[in-house]
């Protein structure tokens, strides 16, 4: 029995592979032919080989419920998500437009606050944002770049239009899976790549290093760059190691660094060596116990002072989380218009603000038909999917929103697009999203592709790995192919 003989129901969603007529979309045709020639046991064999390779290479995340911890691989589906060249160039332009505006926005928020004075955004919304860092008012970050690494979450609605769901301007993760997924697919289907003309993703690490070198203080002609990790028990530790070794830079923990006379050094066997730029994978709160959370054991006392003195660069900068606030997110289309005088290429999901009295009553009345989110939670937590919730859950959330409107937003539910995904008994449609990675250095670069996450549970819209999500390789096809 070949793979594609199993019945596939595209359902009433936008399906990445099949058009409404039931025909395979042109950019999926080659893949469909290849799959049609593959028998189920052979497919299963390749699948098992890929899983085993992930386990051996330690491409895992750890779930801690005993001293040793249980390591799991991030479930991987062999059917790639394919994006045609023209579609990608629009996405790329939209992402660059957005990050350019966001960097101008953050600069303005921490300097003249022109956008607040012009009343494009009510000042109270910004000043009440959890991650707005007053301490950094009037501080100029190196090269005026606030966000160097960004992992925007995109989704597609029922018509297949791309929408921005979140910006992820602090420490977006997952990029190592983008690269590891590619290498797994190359091993599983070596021939397919040649005929398809898939654009490579492996340039990411080099671009990241370039972006980090770009912001290092210029006092040294060979700046030293490090990656600061919370440590081996962090669930993304694999990724930290992966990126450090791809860039050939040391991975350090807070205790490896020391600040002396506002300069950062690392403790080496040969004494202290200076550090010029830090790719930090620790949140602001934990970065420096002398400034933020005083109980942080992961940070470096004095790091913020060194940053302020211009002796070390941080990526991303401190205080970028203000634009990740979901209330602030609602204003980003206006932000783009304000700084760039352009219409956003990639629209937001329609968002209602509970802090606005008129919108609040709309939210409270229609909650069962909306998705409600806390302003500062991530990972699929702190949210309500109205249509999928019980009356009690809705009532419970209604009370929360009414009690603290500033902390909530609501959105129209989006029926995320689906992709054929291998399930126990053949292909079934599963909902997916897309996280492309944007790097801002001397130039702004979007790696062609990204991490496609897939909600493996039938009917689920939550793609997060902590809640039953998996991933797929993402192929961007070269122009002219």
């Amino acid at each position: 029995m070949s793979l594609l003989s199993t019945h596939y129901d595209a359902g009433e969603f936008f399906d990445e592979m099949y058009a409404t007529s039931g025909e395979v979309r042109p950019h999926y045709r080659l893949l469909a032919e290849r799959l049609a020639s593959l028998a189920v046991p052979e497919f299963e064999r390749r699948r098992a080989a890929v899983d085993l390779a992930f386990l051996r290479r330690g491409v895992t995340f750890t779930v801690y419920n005993d001293a040793e911890g249980t390591e799991r691989i991030f479930p991987f589906d062999l059917i790639p998500r394919i994006i045609p060249a023209r579609e990608w160039s629009r996405l790329e332009a939209g992402l660059i437009q957005r990050i350019t505006a966001l960097n101008l926005f953050l600069h303005d928020l921490y300097h003249g606050q022109k956008i607040l004075k012009d009343k494009v955004i009510p000042a109270a919304q910004i000043l009440s944002a959890k991650h707005f860092r007053r301490e950094f008012m009037n501080f100029s970050v190196p090269r005026d770049i606030y966000v160097h690494i960004c992992g925007t979450d995109l989704i597609r609605d029922r018509d297949g239009s791309y929408l921005v769901l979140e910006d992820n301007l602090r420490c977006p993760s997952g990029v190592s899976y983008m690269i590891e997924n590619r290498s797994a697919m190359r091993r599983a289907f070596p021939n397919l790549f040649q005929s398809y003309g898939v654009r490579p993703v492996e340039g990411y690490s080099e671009e990241l290093l370039k972006a980090l070198l770009h912001i290092a203080p210029s006092r040294s002609d060979k700046p030293s760059v490090v990656l600061l990790t919370p440590g081996v028990y962090n669930s993304a530790y694999f990724e930290h190691c992966f990126l450090a070794r791809q860039m050939g830079i040391p991975i350090v923990e807070g205790r490896d660094l020391v600040v002396h006379d506002t300069c950062v050094y690392m403790r080496t066997t040969a004494g202290l060596l200076p550090v010029d730029a830090i790719y930090r994978r620790i949140d602001d709160d934990f970065l420096d116990p002398a400034v933020f959370r005083s109980d942080s054991m992961l940070g470096v006392p004095g790091l913020v002072a060194a940053y302020r003195a211009g002796n070390v660069a941080l990526a991303n900068s401190i205080g970028t989380g203000v634009a990740d606030d979901k209330v602030v997110y609602a204003y980003i289309p206006k932000v783009i218009k304000y700084y760039l005088d352009q219409d956003p290429i990639l629209p937001n999901v329609t968002t209602y603000l509970a802090s606005d009295p008129a919108q609040l009553s709309f939210i409270l009345e229609n909650m069962a038909g909306l998705v409600v989110k806390s302003a500062n939670e991530a990972g699929g937590y702190g949210m309500l999917i109205g249509p999928a919730s019980t009356n009690e859950e809705v009532a419970d959330f209604r009370a929360k929103v009414a009690a603290n409107p500033r902390n909530f937003i609501a959105q129209d539910p989006i029926m995320l697009s689906r992709s054929p995904t291998w399930c126990d008994h053949g292909f079934e449609g599963r909902h997916i999203d897309l996280r492309p990675y944007v790097l801002c250095g001397e130039k702004t670069v979007v790696t062609p592709g990204g991490l496609t996450r897939v909600a493996l549970r039938k009917g689920s819209l939550v793609v997060n790995s902590s809640q039953g999500g998996g991933s797929k390789d993402t192929w961007v096809i070269e122009a002219g192919k």
Binding site: I251, R255, D256, Y265, A270, L273, I282
Partner: protein, 350 residues
Amino acid sequence: MPASPKIPVPRPQANAMLSRVAHSLYWMSRYIERAENIARLLEVNLQFILDFRGYDDVHLKEHWGSILGSSGDHELFEKHYEVADSRSVTEFFSFDLRNPNSILACVFAARENARMIRDQISIEMWETINELYLFLKARSTTDVWAAGPYEFFQDIKRNSHLFQGLTDSTYSRSEGWEFIQFGKFVERAHKTTRILDVKYHILLPNATDVGGALDTAQWQAVLRSASALEAYRRFYVREILPWKVAEFLIFSDSFPRSVHFCVAQIDEFLRRILGESGARPRTEAARASRRLLANLQSLTIDEVLRDGLHEFLVETGKTLDRISDQVVQTTMFYPAEATQEDQQLQQQQQ
């Protein structure tokens, strides 16, 4: 935190190494070597007992007791097990995580250290440790017993050798290499003293047994526990004599598991790590290692036997501990840290 940090840059960055990384390389290497030695010790002794089917329960208990005694784990064992027999000792030394020196515990510790410094070691080194760990995790004493322990211990030794060979052929000869080698030879020297000391713990009922079939077989087992039987035979070309075995395992300058050979390597790597170049050592660790090496170069087996073999082995073990502690302290200074649990929790929250 050091009150006033040394002002930096003795080496270019490419060669400098975080103290924490050096520490992890050292322990990773020690734990792999330790796991291999335990596997060899167990394998040889299980085989030995099979060969001596005539062993009664008293002999059996005494035999395993001597192994436990030499590794210093007697008390811990008795806390958790009632009888010392082949099966319980295999369990204790292979899979029991309550025993920090079990093979599984060692491989887990080696892997945790390797995981912390994955960016520093080659992918081949990491995969070997990881596969060894996955291999052990998937097995239990019952499986090992069902399939015959020989294959099992063989796999562990093979993986350790593979790891050491891959380290040799994929790891740059940097400062990290010095720590890896230093750790390996410290552990190996230590284990050779322990292996030799096993014999001290075997109580012979009467003097006529000395030189008998059992005695010879036991000394043979000692040599095999250090992979030294063939090397011994080639070197002496004669029967196995207790004092010759001791001489070989302590003083050989060519056999890579002898105490002398290992200490010569320790001295060499320690001098490189501590930057000791002059004729007179500057650090306490280098002085201690120089003295130990001088003893191993100049003492004779008769002198050692006269003053007591057991005492000599124990003293050598203590000196090795002192040397490694001092190297660790000199190169890996850390301020007092918060508890492991608190750190772990914050790392997960992040």
